[in-house]
Symmetry: C2
Subunit: 414 residues, 2 copies
Amino acid sequence: MNAEIIAIGSELLTPFRQDTNSLALTTHLNDLGVELDFKSIVGDRRSDLVNAARIAFGRADIVIFMGGLGPTEDDLTREAVAEALGLELRRDDKIAEELRARFAAHGWKMADNNLQQADVIAGAEAINNPRGTAPGQFLRTEYKGKQKIAMLLPGPPHEILPMFEKDCMERLRPMVPARSIATRVLRIAMIGESSADKRAAAIYKQHQDVQTTVLAGAGEVQFHLRSQAESEEKAQKAVDTLASKLEDEFEEAVFSAQGESLEQIVGYYLQMRDATLAVAESCTGGMLAQRITSVAGSSRYFLGGAVVYDNSLKSDLAGVPPLLIAEHGAVSGQVAGALAEGIRTRCTASLGIGITGVAGPGGGTEQKPVGLVYVGLCDENGTEVVERRFPGDRDRIRMYATQQALDMVRRKLM
Amino acid sequence: MNAEIIAIGSELLTPFRQDTNSLALTTHLNDLGVELDFKSIVGDRRSDLVNAARIAFGRADIVIFMGGLGPTEDDLTREAVAEALGLELRRDDKIAEELRARFAAHGWKMADNNLQQADVIAGAEAINNPRGTAPGQFLRTEYKGKQKIAMLLPGPPHEILPMFEKDCMERLRPMVPARSIATRVLRIAMIGESSADKRAAAIYKQHQDVQTTVLAGAGEVQFHLRSQAESEEKAQKAVDTLASKLEDEFEEAVFSAQGESLEQIVGYYLQMRDATLAVAESCTGGMLAQRITSVAGSSRYFLGGAVVYDNSLKSDLAGVPPLLIAEHGAVSGQVAGALAEGIRTRCTASLGIGITGVAGPGGGTEQKPVGLVYVGLCDENGTEVVERRFPGDRDRIRMYATQQALDMVRRKLM
């Protein structure tokens, strides 16, 4: 079975807003073995909506409408879908009563336009919406002689996502031919996208039973594997077999075999080794600490550190000898190493990291160009320093630098 | 005139990828007075593409196809658009020659499938693509007796965005009735979305000549104003008049009247006052420093600071008396104030900020629940401390806390 998602709202056609609900819905649809074949974004004009609905029912088995269920005159989804299907809208007295009660409970008088939220398409089941006023609607119907499933769902993410995950999936599951789906996510660090994809493609192209999607970020490539089969075992075996081959190819560059982030993995390792971490950051300006502390519970292994933008702070907060800076420059392997050692000592941590570099866009020289970054890592046995030249803009260079630092910690603890 | 954008590629129908090019294209179209009425996302199936193209030509004056122009058998946009319009594809010998030369320059032999990139729809103009192999195509044509403009553009952002901004806009501008457009972006800090929208709506609803879009983030609401008129003056006056009224309503909560970010504005003020800033962060874990240093040139006013996750570091790096922590707890107004004072002294800064709180999801108590945050700000005249309770998850609470801190600095320097 295939599906189309229609996101409704003129604000989704401005440069400022984008439908993101559809990504989460797609995950759930795919889990049932339903393929999403089309997405459409339409404004709040009734004729456009009716036409978009007819187009969708003409090409998809399942059509999901998101948004346009509120009380204003711009909220036209109910009317438009009813018109497209040639069905009546009927006011549901129970829903109308609940709307009145909800307003009364707040001591408000309900304006009449709110009642359109109680209009249900003939044959549809209303889905209670505890997080908003407009209920969803679930409908099995026919269009031009073919069986169709339609859902009318509210637009706000905190309303639609729980409603889809629970109420819609419960209803959908028995209507969809049973398929077993297995997924895996492998993530690798610090290998370039084109090189990683070339090496991986030689492998995954031989596994046509697994759908592979390759995503890349600064210092990271992800392989999203997905397989459908008659049985769970078979689907799982298909993704696991390909995952193993990719793990063999990329060896210890694979930091995550189930989708965990690099900062999560570093956290696991630190806890496993009963180790603690402190960081001294210059060009990344707090981004490394921010990534590490984005993980809930990171206080168990992350002590803290210093953001040493100003050179005097490299000495005052992280104990780098001023002479070292004078001799080698703030952006140097020597200073990265001294930052790592200094912050480790100051914080009494098992591991210390120091980062210094030129994030740009200004500040680059011929000898020390924008993108040049040094990362130092220190433990009780000594200090290692890596020199890298990262491409991209300020944000990307900073992201690369934090990725490099986290990956060094991971490899050290592996 | 109205437009439709069609994004092509099966990967855009997975949960992992999303078209974002269309947002930038929409900005440019709107600048010409062209409204985007539809967006569609279609996979790499030829029949789906032909149908989507016909639907689009049936409802939009300008149809922009993104993606599917490469050398593989999945790249079907050229063939599909030609079929939809009933036009021929013709191999352009000059483009074919350039493709061969490009491969030869790398010392590679060109596989024959690359030649499909030299196929141009009859009547279309090829647009040179210096950042990739597939040229774009620009076509004026008729569909069912109506004038249409079609563009076939490559999918990668670094190829399509410069091509659209320059080559397509140059061709489009003389074809679109001249209109003058003016825009303004007002940003306000630390006022709740619903309250801000209610107060603003009472004003902007009386300005039907300006289209107002309201966006909200943690601790920030943005008003995007846009007006079309016969003359530049009139359009500019329309947005400026509404902007003034909104500025009067929200007074000093407006931190930006031309779209600048809060961290940029804080940077301007610090430079203007010849002041420097240092920060000591507990629950935000580096996020505040990271935001401040995301601005290029921030080293002119940001010295650095400490991430004091562990309590002993609150004393060792930011000079908070251990007794103060023992007496009031690490999450307390007293500690926030002491962090601000301590880091200001350690870093010899004009201003010091201290943040402590419970970002969650764990660590909350009845007295100190998740979301409780104290922010201290200290200058040579003394220290102020604010207590806030922020809603949302860990990431949102941390974002709110940094927003609060930046806004306090802004108000202090205003």
